[in-house]
Symmetry: C2
Subunit: 475 residues, 2 copies
Amino acid sequence: MQKLLYVQLGDQISDQIREGLYKVGERLPSVRELSKREQVSIATVNTAYANLEQRGWIEARPKSGYFVRRSSLDAVDLPETANLKPKPRHVSINELAMEVQRGASSKTGASFCAAVPDLNFPISKIIQRTYVSQARAGVTFDQGYDSPEGLYELRKQIAKRALEAGIRVGVDELITTSGAQNALALALRALTKPGDIVAVESPCYFGLLQMIESFGLKSIEIPTDPKDGMSIDALKLALQQWPIKVVLSITAYSNPLGCVMPNDHKQALIQLLQQYDIAMIEDDIYGELQFEGHRPKAVKAFDEEGRVLWCSSVSKTMDPKLRVGWIAPGKYYAEILHQKYVNSIALPSLPQSVAAQVMAQGQFDRHLRQAREAYRQRSQHLIDLAQMHFPSEMRASSPQGGLVVWFEMPKKIDATDLYYQCRERDVRIAPGELFSVTGLYQNCFRMSFAKPWTLESEQAVAMIGQQLKEMMMKS
Amino acid sequence: MQKLLYVQLGDQISDQIREGLYKVGERLPSVRELSKREQVSIATVNTAYANLEQRGWIEARPKSGYFVRRSSLDAVDLPETANLKPKPRHVSINELAMEVQRGASSKTGASFCAAVPDLNFPISKIIQRTYVSQARAGVTFDQGYDSPEGLYELRKQIAKRALEAGIRVGVDELITTSGAQNALALALRALTKPGDIVAVESPCYFGLLQMIESFGLKSIEIPTDPKDGMSIDALKLALQQWPIKVVLSITAYSNPLGCVMPNDHKQALIQLLQQYDIAMIEDDIYGELQFEGHRPKAVKAFDEEGRVLWCSSVSKTMDPKLRVGWIAPGKYYAEILHQKYVNSIALPSLPQSVAAQVMAQGQFDRHLRQAREAYRQRSQHLIDLAQMHFPSEMRASSPQGGLVVWFEMPKKIDATDLYYQCRERDVRIAPGELFSVTGLYQNCFRMSFAKPWTLESEQAVAMIGQQLKEMMMKS
């Protein structure tokens, strides 16, 4: 009982801090006051406060009591454009990326390495039950191959949800894909030939860099602001200097920076696409994971010429192992459909039908509201813990949605070394090396906050901090 | 009873003809003799003979009795190598192919156009029930993305079945794919770059030609014998003259010819691969659909250097909409795994688990035995009907497995015209134009015999024959 009480009390206080009842730097009730107010023993309050201190929520000041810690950290500095000297390069991301991806499914230890959603929300049970009911009813079972464009019912649901992103797209303008990764691959295949140049964010999600390398393309990394996303000025400069074929960007809660492109930047981007007569591949997989308010509009919402190929999936909002994604390819519809048909004929029918059925239910929107709030809290807790344990010189992004935080350490830290040291202790992060071919982010790393916090994962953050501090001293 | 007896008697006689007991042109027992021998009435024999005549097995000659018709038809003549003048060409297959593919799922009329299996065998219900039970048990539901190489349990079952094709492959030497089409696409991507030359069969399954075109590759069509498959001599000649990068072949019950490469040809092929230091992509999707005896060995069974990439799927034996296939890529394992990962990260988990579970059950082998016999009978009936209704100058392949028959008409017949005429009457065939970029097969077409025969589909064959005869007269 004693133990349960202090946990309850601690959770209550951390909730109140999150909700702003106690502001940063504010003094918390004394042990005696709280004991009286909450009708618990002095020992219980002491234990609750000690635990909150250990977890980074509060700090004790000698002879003054407990105070709320400074809680949201400074955003990462933008790498200076001058230093970056954008140049197309042959991408070369090594096998580290696949190892990091595999680490995500490790059954033991603490894994912060992959942007995979928490699969313990009630929606997972709903997906499972829908699988059972759809299979039992024999939905799609009377047909052979699904059509190349994908299940009609699913495309109908996607067209509906697209309206939330400001996109008006017809059911027959959508093609389903094997996750967003497959949508991006089909789009890149259709728009480029080997040797072509693709403009990407910097830092850039390593799966995109691997794809670009694998397709024999060159990437040009455009400086990206941790708040506002890809720099339009830098993109303009790059377009002036290089024959860029396509712009590829995660426009909402980008991976890894968590940035969102403001609407006026989106309009400016559309104008650049028109001016240089090129296309844009928009990866919008995190668009529905905003922490607050309405989801951001997609660039596609501003596109009147069909130049933007809008790609997304249910992998971050429902379940990645359904492998259900989609693309609204604008004027490139025929090429994308042909690419999909040639590469795999069609998608499996039942997972598409399950995704459509779940989307059609009100429970999905309820789930999204629940997940957004959970992720908001988990994100904040990661930043709090980092602030407590990581070297004081560190910087961190302040994502307003999505699943990841980007950390920047002093230059002397090698985050790939850190990755290996953590892996030995069964703790996994994604080293910055993966997010560029320029070597710019060797001192950075990405951490996912999707999973619910546990004592083990909190201790893992403390351990990472310990490693970082030791590396700081050695070097 | 009367009716049953004449059917029994008719089947007995047609079996005897098939088995060679009565040769082509041979006189059958007189009505009186047969009545005596089989202890049935004169009327029963008369009805049985009349029915066999109607179905194209036998013919009545006035005042002489009944005779066996020319029954197993001559195989399609091999296009002469001299005429073919193999040359690499830019493939250009038009949208007709996708239209033909779509026609397969038409709900009305008679569709002979796609090599899609019959989905009304009991196995379909077993697959459905397995989906329900696997979903209910939450199999794979505790994990995020499946691993890039694919579900372990499925790879284990595939490795077991590979032994039947003479292939010894470890569980960790297999990668699952989105059907065989996806396996072939991954293999072609990994082995070639745009402009490279791929050697294929002639005629060649149009899905492969479309893929080759879409990837910017050139194809060289190697003369293919309707019995023995790709000509090794012609391939040798082509290898001497052109820098062929990879050989792509459906080695068992090829689509469209139904041919099987003999084992000594397979060995000779392996030697050519070694001599020219190139790879082979083996498409083995029909390998388990032999009409009689044991399934053919794969070329992969003779491969000791890991040069053969063995591709197959459950699309022809279980259900195409599971989209479960695989590849044993030999020494190209790492490239294929990377290609799969980059293009779609992983497959959906549950369909893989369902396929594995069904394979592990004895019912799957029982199903295969049932399907093989059904397809054998349906194939024979298509050939019988064609013989009865099509112009006498026609030739047809005699497949010993698989799902299709290839018909060759006199040169004046345009099978693409025939396709459109049939489509107007809601009957679908696959015109020969699709199976080559050389224009060699404009007078040919492919018909699938997978579905059970109905009065409607039998009448459709008669209608096709009517169209053909009219075209013969007009021209």
